[in-house]
Symmetry: C2
Subunit: 362 residues, 2 copies
């Protein structure tokens, strides 16, 4: 089903119901890599707020960790950073395979970094093991950007299901913002459920497409185009310039057929070339224009508030489903009922009720 | 949030956990309208299977009822009808306000009915009180179709939230199929969450659009265009013919930019006029072509099986959330936490955990 992908069983239940952090912030955290200092929550927070990238990086490691003691420290750090976050523009970037996402982000990121602004690049890649185009896994990528003093490039958290990865990325954004990064890029591979999660944590969503995009477009999920605030046709250079401009016009026409976004913003189609460094500053300008527009209407702030509330409800849904589907009786009954549903010998409603009855009578 | 509308609190918990039907099918059902016979479950089933439209209509009333005793009878009838269902083509139809959905459906339905096929029209309209274009509420609509011997037109179930309405429509489809209707139309208003529900219960999804569709298109939700198996530009008559053809070309171009549907089917753009009765039989043919194509590839059958399984999981999610959000402590805490989230003084994760802890310690 393309319309309603179930994003089930996402939060790990590691020690029964997780407890909100309630620890002494001066106690050392569990991070204990060889020859690396163990920081306390306060040291972490101070380090992040002073813009120390090494400490930021270790704090994100803590956020990504699945150990319970790390979880508690991480939550305490996030809480302390929270008042200093929310000052960036968050941009989600996805694209069809072959669109050159990392090359684009490197070029775009260097442009931002060289104006003196600070840019952080985070990645969500729930399917890195299964897709050819794994993002940020290749350490040779974004060579220049990753060593730029104004940039921070962080590969995808490797473990966990999508819900978990989305939470980690969302929390890493808070830490990056507290560390003074004013542009946050969240990159996804464009193949799955992750785009909805990313759309729900960013201010602006950019889709990278290719000219023609015949077979390539089959690599992305339906519905992504309608999520975009802008579509950029990449590799608009050399002999590809005219086809790229034609593709841009087609996309601009298509976008004009869509209903307006919730913000009232009209999505734009653009072209760019990372190789020739053309069209990149225009995209930066469009993002700036959007931020200016949305801040003026109040939508920018409003969306973030909405996102925070929606996220709370999403976490609850994930947790409830996780608890339900991990129930031992449910676990063994689900395949049986799915078989019956396949045969058409039971209604979905009756199948659901029989599971619900089992669960609530436990 | 347009990307992730929360479809929460949908199933009514009326008497704790509802019980699967377990009643004597010969006992009379609770239906007791004045001067109307009370049928038993078996009488209902026999009546439906013999194609008795009055009994079908009363059975749907039972399905739509929110009384517990009706619920049990209805489930028993559905179960008995289940082996005789699944023989139709189910078509979801939505459109921008003003596209003339009911006029289209009347013309389309008469065309089907006059070939000797049996057509049923059901509606999902969760927002009928709030929208100008309430569907099927106006009894003067579909005048000819609703009295045609081969047609059955059923207005929207009026009560309940979307999840409930979707369940009722899904179960009404089963009854209509058992009564021998081979084309089932499910109509929606195109403004909200209902399209995803409808897409998940039909084989083919048709979107009705207008030429230009400037302001009208703002009335529909983003993402709907990418759900369509076909887009029809309505009112392609008189001086509107050429603009309609131009709009068709634009939509066909736009559709070609989208990734293929899961079925592999390439969505088509068409024009039609209900007034001049042009293009209607072409749309019927496209639906037939799709059904032929999808049956050949096995996707037709596969999608229905997937839909049944997904539906079971959706019902479970709805129930879990309903149970969660109706918990008295949760109910009073949610607004407080939402306020904190608005102020940015708490993370979504911590807010969610504090509710989860409350719920599971009850």
């Amino acid at each position: 089903m393309e319309e309603k992908d179930r994003n089930k069983v996402s939060l790990k239940i590691q020690e029964g119901v997780p407890q909100p952090p309630n620890i002494n912030p001066d106690v050392l955290t569990g991070i204990s890599r060889k020859r690396r200092k163990r920081y306390s929550v306060n040291e972490f927070t101070d380090g992040i707020l002073s813009g120390n990238r090494s400490i930021l990086s270790q704090a994100i490691t803590l956020v990504e960790s699945s150990l319970p003691e790390h979880f508690r420290s991480a939550q305490a750090i996030i809480e302390k950073c929270l008042p200093y976050s929310s000052r960036s523009v968050r941009v989600g970037i996805t694209g069809v395979p072959g669109a050159g996402k990392s090359t684009f982000i490197e070029t775009f990121g260097l442009l931002v970094a060289e104006t003196g602004k600070k840019i952080a690049v985070l990645a969500i890649d729930p399917s890195s093991q299964n897709t050819k185009g794994s993002i940020l896994g290749d350490k040779t990528r974004m060579e220049k950007l990753s060593v730029h003093p104004n940039a921070f490039v962080r590969p995808s958290p490797s473990a966990g299901t999508l819900g978990g990865v989305a939470r980690k990325t969302r929390e890493s954004i808070i830490l990056c913002e507290a560390a003074g990064f004013d542009t946050i890029i969240v990159e996804t591979v464009g193949v799955g459920q992750s785009e909805t999660s990313v759309r729900a944590m960013v201010d602006f969503f950019l889709l990278l497409m290719l000219t023609g995009a015949g077979d390539e477009i089959q690599g992305i999920k339906r519905g992504i185009i309608e999520m975009a605030d802008a579509v950029a046709i990449t590799k608009a250079d050399g002999g590809n310039k005219i086809p790229a401009e034609n593709a841009r016009i087609m996309f601009q026409n298509a976008l004009s057929l869509f209903p307006r976004t919730q913000s009232g913003w009209k999505p734009l189609a653009l072209t760019c070339s990372a190789r020739e460094k053309t069209g990149i500053s225009e995209i930066l300008k469009v993002i700036g224009d959007y931020a200016g527009y949305a801040k003026k209407t109040g939508y920018f702030e409003e969306l973030r508030k909405q996102q925070a509330v929606i996220r709370m409800h999403d976490i609850i849904s994930e947790y409830l489903e996780d608890s339900f589907y991990n129930h031992s009786e449910i676990k063994s009954l689900v395949p049986e009922l799915e078989t019956e549903l396949h045969k058409g010998t039971i209604t979905s409603y009756k199948a659901a009720l029989s599971l619900i009855n089992k669960y609530f009578k436990k």
